[in-house]
């Protein structure tokens, strides 16, 4: 069991509204990632679910039971904190046992659970040490272990990897994914790192300023971002946005004029769009390539080239001054000041209207 439902959850601190009516249905065993820039309310939302804060309005249900008035300790959830929040005066074993002792579990059962968690997380060698004597990665495992021994209905993880160095973060990410595969328990994971979100999540919830911008699988979000914010947030490096105008919509698709006068036919019909409407054209850097002679494309001037070997990152600007980033496969002999034409496949274009919403039908 571990189904969590949020209905119109809002939270205000004094006059400041942090969450504006969040609706969300998290299925049993699902790995859901809340992602968004800092201050978007993702940690606040997690604390409402955990029971560490009470929502100002709305309902939170766990397995169908309304838990708004149930204290954190009785919700059957376990949380892993950004700072790990291990009790510094207790040994690793005592840290793991603390929650179980509070639940008045028999000693033998506690020992068995600790042994099981220690085996799973490979922390058996330092059960008698204090957190202060452990490295960052070891502390992280202990913090996860403290959640696992509780055998919770769902795990809540608040930016658990953000204090680790880059290399460790990647390996812990893989371990977390493997752990979820083994435990098959609902996990809610908060991060500001879209790569963590993309790699771990069954479903991603993109939050901004206390509102859900889009919910979907990682590839749904990548391929069909619902608005310009999600488009820019998901995918690295982030999407280029160029100005354009819809010239007309026909059976063949949408006729789009880019800023430089070039006309492209997008092979999808923008039903709600009207001829003459200004749009924002989104194009991922990975979808750009150097135009062949005579081919259409975006003319740019190169500002900087980063040759990474397998790919070449080109920072450039269009004649209108709009910045264009391109990730070109392989190695290219390019340098600063060169003029270049970057072409793309019309299928890869994303159109956003002046309210930053995805143009319907594209």
């Amino acid at each position: 069991m571990g189904r969590i439902t949020l209905e119109k959850v809002t939270k205000s601190f004094g006059a400041i509204d942090v969450l504006h009516g969040i609706d969300l249905d998290i299925g049993e065993g699902e790995f859901v990632v809340f992602v968004g820039p800092s201050g978007c309310g993702k940690s606040t939302l997690l604390r409402q679910i955990a029971g560490l804060d009470r929502p100002s309005n709305g309902e939170i249900r766990i397995d169908g039971t309304l838990v708004n008035d149930v204290p954190a300790s009785d919700r059957g959830l376990a949380m892993v904190f950004q700072s790990y929040a291990l009790y510094p005066h207790m040994s690793v074993r005592q840290n793991l046992a603390f929650g179980l002792e509070n639940a008045r579990m028999p000693k033998a059962e506690i020992d068995a659970r600790i042994a099981e968690a220690a085996r799973m997380l490979e922390i058996g060698d330092y059960l008698e040490r204090r957190p202060g004597q452990l490295s960052g990665g070891q502390r992280q495992r202990v913090a996860i272990g403290r959640a696992i021994v509780r055998n919770p209905t769902a795990f809540l993880l608040d930016e658990p990897l953000s204090n680790l160095d880059a290399e460790l973060r990647i390996s812990m990410r893989a371990e977390l994914a493997a752990l979820h595969g083994r435990l098959k328990t609902t996990m809610i994971y908060v991060t500001h790192d879209q790569i963590e979100a993309m790699t771990l999540a069954d479903r991603i919830v993109v939050l901004r300023k206390g509102r859900v911008e889009q919910v979907g699988s990682p590839l749904e979000l990548y391929n069909r971002p619902a608005n310009r914010f999600v488009a820019g947030f998901i995918g690295a490096p982030s999407m280029n946005f160029l100005s354009g105008r819809i010239e007309g919509v026909s059976e063949a698709g949408t006729l789009l004029r880019l800023f430089d006068g070039e006309v492209v036919t997008v092979p999808r019909r923008a039903e709600a769009a009207h001829a003459g409407e200004d749009v924002s054209v989104g194009l991922r850097p990975q979808h750009m390539r150097v135009a062949q002679a005579g081919e259409n494309g975006v003319p740019v001037t190169i500002d900087m080239v980063e040759a990474l070997g397998s790919e070449t990152v080109v920072h450039s600007h269009a004649p209108t001054g709009e910045l264009v980033l391109a990730v070109l496969q392989g190695q290219h002999n390019l340098s600063r000041g060169h003029n270049l034409k970057l072409s793309f496949h019309p299928d890869d274009l994303h159109l956003f209207d002046k309210n930053d919403r995805r143009v319907a039908g594209t």
Binding site: A50, S73, D74, Y87, H89, N102, N163
Partner: protein
């Protein structure tokens, strides 16, 4: 050992030039430290040395640093031992004579070898023969005649009980003020801290009537209870507890800990350095308390040491030698407490489990 000497004698001037120069900061440091040592330690050292003096040596002027007594010998025909003097004779020689009696500025003295011949000596021409002597009876006698052990027990009981209650009560208040959000939180803190400005002398009379109407007069609890809530303690602990991360408390809540368990098993152990500081303060305060116990306690079997010592200063006669000796004894526990607890002060363990 040589490394310790190196460390103590390390100088900035010496390391810079490779030679034996004295940088002005070296001079300043030495003057400052030795001056500080003198100011802090000299009164205690003088107290300890003087506590071994006889009443006669204590009233001597100019006072001596070490406890000296005049040597005496027993002369046939005199019951009491008589003092020895080095006398400069009219012919310029010095002789060691015993004083039999003194009339005005003339002393009648005899040579201990031939006590029959009385020599008259002007008191300007003689100097007492002195030797170093530690008057241990200053210590032993009060233990026999003065109810020292009972007073000690009363003092220990008051100090230990008051300190334990102080730690528990103040840390609970500090926990509430630092880790809970409630309306009027700051107002409460300000009121508590503001009571620092009210001295005992101001509240003595109302406090007395409160203690009296509670029937606590002439009882050790009457000494203990009014002192246990200290604004200093609440403030000190609150400031320390603010540095304990809230995430630890959230984590404990997720771990099904009750609020009492959070306080007792998380916050209190992590506040150990601050608690040690408060414990030292509280022990020193309660141990040295004089005025309030004097007011509350009237039966001498309930006296604390400080009040008990007061019996040696009568209206007409102050027995300084006993007061000094017993003062040294009463200082010892406080010093021991400090030595034992001071290592906890610097140890900050609250943040070591995070990051």
């Amino acid at each position: 050992m040589s490394r310790a000497v190196d460390f103590v004698t390390r100088r900035r001037g010496a390391s810079g030039s490779g030679g034996k120069g004295w940088h002005w900061t070296d001079v300043f440091t030495w003057v400052w430290l030795i001056g500080g040592l003198f100011v802090m330690f000299a009164p205690a050292a003088w107290l300890a040395l003087s506590s071994f003096k006889t009443p006669a040596a204590l009233s001597e002027f100019p006072p001596s640093l070490l406890p000296y007594v005049t040597e005496t010998v027993k002369i046939a025909g005199n019951d009491k031992p008589s003092p020895l003097y080095d006398v400069t004779m009219p012919d310029g020689k010095t002789a060691r004579l015993v004083e039999l009696r003194r009339v005005g500025i003339v002393a009648q003295m005899v040579d201990p070898a031939s006590p029959e011949t009385v020599i008259k000596v002007n008191i300007k021409d003689r100097k007492p023969v002195q030797k170093l002597h530690f008057e241990t009876s200053n210590y032993t006698e009060p233990f026999v005649h003065f109810d020292f052990l009972r007073y000690l027990w009363n003092s220990v009981f008051v100090t230990v009980t008051a300190t334990l209650i102080t730690l528990v009560v103040n840390s609970m208040a500090a926990f509430a003020l630092s880790k809970y959000q409630f309306r009027g939180q700051n107002a409460v803190l300000i009121v508590i801290v503001a009571t620092l400005m009210v001295p005992l002398a101001v509240i003595m009379v109302p406090l007395y009537s409160v203690v009296s109407s509670l029937g606590l007069l002439d009882s050790l609890w009457g000494v203990i209870l009014p002192t246990v809530a200290t604004p200093t303690g609440v403030f000190l602990l609150r400031q320390y507890m603010l540095t304990i991360p809230d995430e630890l408390i959230d984590a404990a809540r997720m771990d099904k800990a009750s609020e009492w368990q959070i306080y007792w098993r998380i916050v209190l152990p992590l506040s150990a350095p601050a608690l040690a500081v408060l414990a030292i303060f509280s022990v020193v305060w309660r141990w040295n308390d004089f005025l309030w116990p004097l007011i509350v306690l009237s039966r001498s079997s309930l006296y604390t040491l400080q009040v008990g010592l007061n019996v040696y200063s009568g209206q007409l006669n102050v027995q300084w030698h006993f007061i000094l000796a017993m003062t040294v004894v009463t200082m010892i526990p406080v010093v021991l407490v400090f030595v034992f607890l001071q290592r906890f002060i610097a140890r900050g363990i609250a943040t070591s489990g995070l990051k």
